[in-house]
Subunit: 251 residues, 2 copies
């Protein structure tokens, strides 16, 4: 039985959770777009609050939803080779990195234009650590697992570290997202940032909606972790680096 045939035998619970993760990821993107686009007035790139509105949209989309889906690619029983799975994994994460950098720029530009210091809050400390570790992890992963010069012993040594770091960065993304949504609501609804809404403490509809976005991000994160940490759902063929040349892998 090949690994591909083996993957076809994944239980219904895998498919149920995978479909649930897809729905939750989609809902996260819809909710964060509606929050920024409707309650926060929409989008621009002019140093105003409207530029900042890109920040939650791009960070949740990249660091949570795209990142989670890129990790799940290793569990989905597509009939592709390990090499193509790696390429799709790296490609989706590269898109995530680029979107997260644009999302960071939106926040930094907004701060600069409004004389707000950068990187003062605990949210910003965890957020910048998440993106820095993510980029470092991506570069090391590219050099070790996709480019041809990396020796097999090094790949085998790095693989569990790469998987562990990948999970840790994902948990960091969840922490950064939740603390960021909380911070945005505290600063915006409590009369700062020129907003005229009810205070956060009165729990206006926007606060319920954005808190619910946080809950959705959390549940999406736990569903992804549940799938990834299930040892029985691992594709055995993807689990060990072979010593076949890379181009042979590409079949």
């Amino acid at each position: 039985m090949t690994a591909t045939e083996n993957k076809m035998l994944l239980p219904v619970s895998f498919y149920a959770l995978y479909i649930l993760s897809m729905c939750l990821g989609f809902l996260c993107v819809v909710f964060v777009c509606l929050w920024s686009g409707t309650w926060r007035g929409g989008f621009a790139w002019d140093g105003s609050f409207l530029q900042f509105n890109w920040h939650p949209v791009l960070m949740v989309t990249s660091l949570v939803v795209l990142y989670g889906n890129a990790v799940l690619l290793y569990r989905v029983p597509f009939t592709w080779s390990r090499w193509w799975c790696k390429v799709a994994h790296a490609g989706l994460l590269l898109v995530a990195i680029m979107l997260s950098l644009v999302g960071l720029s939106a926040a930094f530009d907004f701060h600069s234009a409004n004389n707000i210091p950068h990187l003062y809050s605990l949210h910003s400390w965890t957020g910048i650590s998440t993106v820095t570790l993510f980029i470092f992890q991506w570069c090391v992963g590219l050099g070790a697992f996709l480019l041809p010069w990396s020796p097999m012993t090094f790949r085998a040594f790095l693989k569990p570290i790469h998987a562990w770091m990948g999970m840790a960065i994902f948990v960091l993304s969840l922490i950064s997202s939740l603390s960021g949504i909380n911070q945005k609501l505290l600063l915006t609804l409590n009369g700062r940032n020129g907003s005229n809404t009810e205070p956060y403490t009165a729990l206006p509809t926007e606060a319920v909606f954005a808190n619910s976005l946080g809950v959705l991000v959390l549940i999406f994160g736990f569903v992804v972790l549940k799938i990834i940490l299930n040892q029985e759902w691992k594709n055995p063929e993807f689990e060990q680096e072979s010593n076949r040349p890379l181009l042979a892998d590409a079949r």
Copy 2:
């Protein structure tokens, strides 16, 4: 070779990480006590800010440090039986639950005394979910794994769910702690709550100190997760429920 002898062969990396987790846990408690006790003016139980100061101290100590140590008990190669390990695990978690309930009371009492609504922020939503799930998990664990009437098939079925839920609750604790520290700094340093400090954006020493507490909590959390998720460090004797009577287990 018995399981106990097997555990004695744990690699140096386990002991290094375990000692690191001990040091980090101790530092988390010291930092949160210093933050509340020094920068925030100390402790009282009178509905004032000084009562609220118990909240971060008790929540970090219970939901992060004691909880993490209770989980790690299953990996430490003490020469005790599985039954005593279970009793210590449940006992430490019971202390954690009681401290977390006092910590919650501190926040609720402070809100009531100052006409601040309860449970409006995303931090409070994740925090109350953490404690609720924690208590539910503890009660189910007591009924299923410590009391004698639970059948073996049910124990075997519940064990992976209990372990998974335990890890998820710990991640929730980290998220609640980080968003809580961030929220406290945003509300206190930005001139609310009667404080006369520099604003959070100016990153005064207190902010650097409390942000560092958040970083310590995070690193402690990742060290605990790293130890727990390492399949090779599991004690094989603790991994499967036997059908021996409970009192025989207690030897």
